[in-house]
Amino acid sequence: MSLIEIDDLSVTFTAQGREVRAVQGVSLRVDARESFGLVGESGSGKSTILRAICGLAPVSGGSIRIGGEALRHDRAFARRVQMVFQDPYASLHPRHTLDRTLSEPLAIHGIGGADQRVMRALEDVGLPSSFRFRYPHQLSGGQRQRVAIARALMLEPEILLLDEPTSALDASVQAEVLNLLARLRAERGLTFLMVSHDLAVIDHVCDRVLVMQHGRAVEELTRAELAGARMQTDYARSLFEASADRLMG
């Protein structure tokens, strides 16, 4: 039994009388402690799948199961699944200090020892404890993303959903954040479901990857298949060609 089971999922948005089928009939399985990637271009529906898991997008068909149970968005869910959002400039409340942002999940769930937990969280993501009472606008994009990761881990979830966590960051900062994510995953035995448009990032972080286009699943690849360019579909190949680095040699 996989930790995340998505079967024939469809997500449809209705806006001003028109229907937009963001996701159509997508299925995937993620095992515990696995790192699974969703890759595609804009409009492929990859981020919508994450949002559907979180209850932020309306499911119009199919099912999502976490740990064998149907999806229920209650407090217990919050302690199992958390998300890191794409835009570090939009995912932290601009008027809350980092201390407030990090201690809030603890307050919501009545978990004590906030002081030490916040300090430890900052340390875990490599931020100095003197940043504790800073505001987001006093931090760089990479630092904000670290706070977002720390916040997601405050409730010690099993599953971390990552929505393009490094797309908005500079290359060198991206490297640091990817290293941080890898370390945290190893230390805490986390399961990752990660979305990205960058095949190289996905290749670095994920064990398996699902290529999506226009809301549909195109092809699922293992890392070995991706690295060896053994894709079956034309679209997956075109994505690979566009991303592969041809500078060296």
């Binding site: 979180c54 932020l56 209650d74 407090r75 869910f77 919050a78 699944v81 958390q82 998300m83 959002f85 794409q86 835009d87 400039y89 939009a90 995912s91 932290l92 409340h93 601009p94 008027r95 809350h96 200090t97 201390d99 407030r100 809030e104 999940p105 919501i108 769930h109 100095p128 003197s130 940043f131 504790r132 009472f133 800073r134 505001y135 606008h137 006093q138 977002a148 916040r151 409730l155």
Partner: protein, 301 residues
């Protein structure tokens, strides 16, 4: 003093209070760069000082009549702004009148925005029928012209300054509800709201802790700009005899009383009129300056 500024500018605050005060200090520095806003602040500061020290600053008893001295022009010895038709010193009446003006402003500024904020954020956050009901309620109150409502209240409760304030507050809250609702609709879809919902936060915590702080700048700006209007409405009600009653030296009432003498003894109506003009201008200038400082778009950079 410099250690205080250093403490405020510390890039690594050690407590929430220090962080908050530091941000306020930076906002103050930005406001200081705007000379018009500073002018507005000075005017309002003067208003507060004059109201606080009224007994000291007034030269005469504002309600003491002196019929032999009536309708003296400005710059008469002892009455630098002149006297009105009962011989009362206009300067002293304006000084005591500032207290009444402040009383009206304070009451309205505390009640109307608060009600409007609550209604607007709840309507904006929940949407659906909650939104529809609350907004229709808002529309009903918005539909009342303030003077008509004041007339109605006076007919029921009798004239007086408290009833005038009640009437103003009841008609002043709807615009705040609309502003708060508009901000809420924008903020509601942000990632940080999604994040806290994902943590299991309930609607109350989200609205009060996350949405209201984002609405505050617009509401604060609106309050300062509204204050000018509130003063004028109160003056209008006073003018119609529906607000403050004689012998209170409310500025609008003073203008009304001076109407009869507008051509010959112009100062009786004009002096309180100037006071209203200056204070309204002060609030407008300050409100404009605050908008530049508090506008979330420039604050977010």
């Amino acid at each position: 003093m410099s250690t205080l500024t250093e403490w405020l500018r510390d890039p690594n605050p050690t407590s929430r209070r220090q962080a908050k005060l530091g941000q306020l200090w930076l906002g103050w520095l930005r406001l200081k760069r705007n000379p018009l806003a500073m002018a507005g602040l000075v005017i309002i500061g003067l208003l507060l000082v004059i109201a606080a020290f009224a007994p000291v600053l007034a030269t005469h008893d504002p309600i003491a009549q002196n019929l032999q001295n009536r309708l003296q022009p400005p710059l008469t010895p002892g009455h630098w702004l002149g006297t009105d038709d009962f011989g009362r010193d206009i300067w002293s009446r304006i000084v005591y009148g500032s207290r009444i003006t402040l009383y009206i402003i304070a009451l309205v500024a505390v009640t109307a925005p608060l009600i409007g904020l609550m209604v607007g954020t709840v309507a904006g956050y929940f949407g659906g029928w909650v939104d529809a009901v609350l907004m229709r309620l808002t529309d009903i109150f918005l539909a009342f012209p303030r003077l008509i409502l004041a007339l109605a209240l006076v007919a029921v409760l009798g004239p007086g300054i408290e009833n005038a304030v009640l009437a103003i507050a009841l008609t002043a809250w709807p615009p705040y509800a609309r502003v708060a609702r508009a901000e809420t609709l924008t903020v509601r879809n942000s990632d940080y709201i999604a994040a806290v919902r994902l943590q299991g936060a309930g609607a109350g915590r989200i609205i009060w802790g996350h949405i209201v702080p984002m609405c505050l700048p617009s509401v604060i700006i609106r309050v300062t700009l509204d204050m000018a209007g509130v003063i004028l409405i109160a003056a209008g009600l006073g003018f119609l005899g529906l607000g403050a009653q004689p012998p209170l030296s409310e500025w609008g009432l003073m203008i009304s009383a001076g109407r009869k003498y507008l051509f010959e003894q112009w100062w009786v109506a004009t002096m309180p009129g100037l006071a209203i003009f200056i204070v309204s201008l002060g609030f407008n200038l300050l409100g404009d300056g605050l908008r530049d400082v508090l506008d979330p778009r420039s604050a977010a950079k």
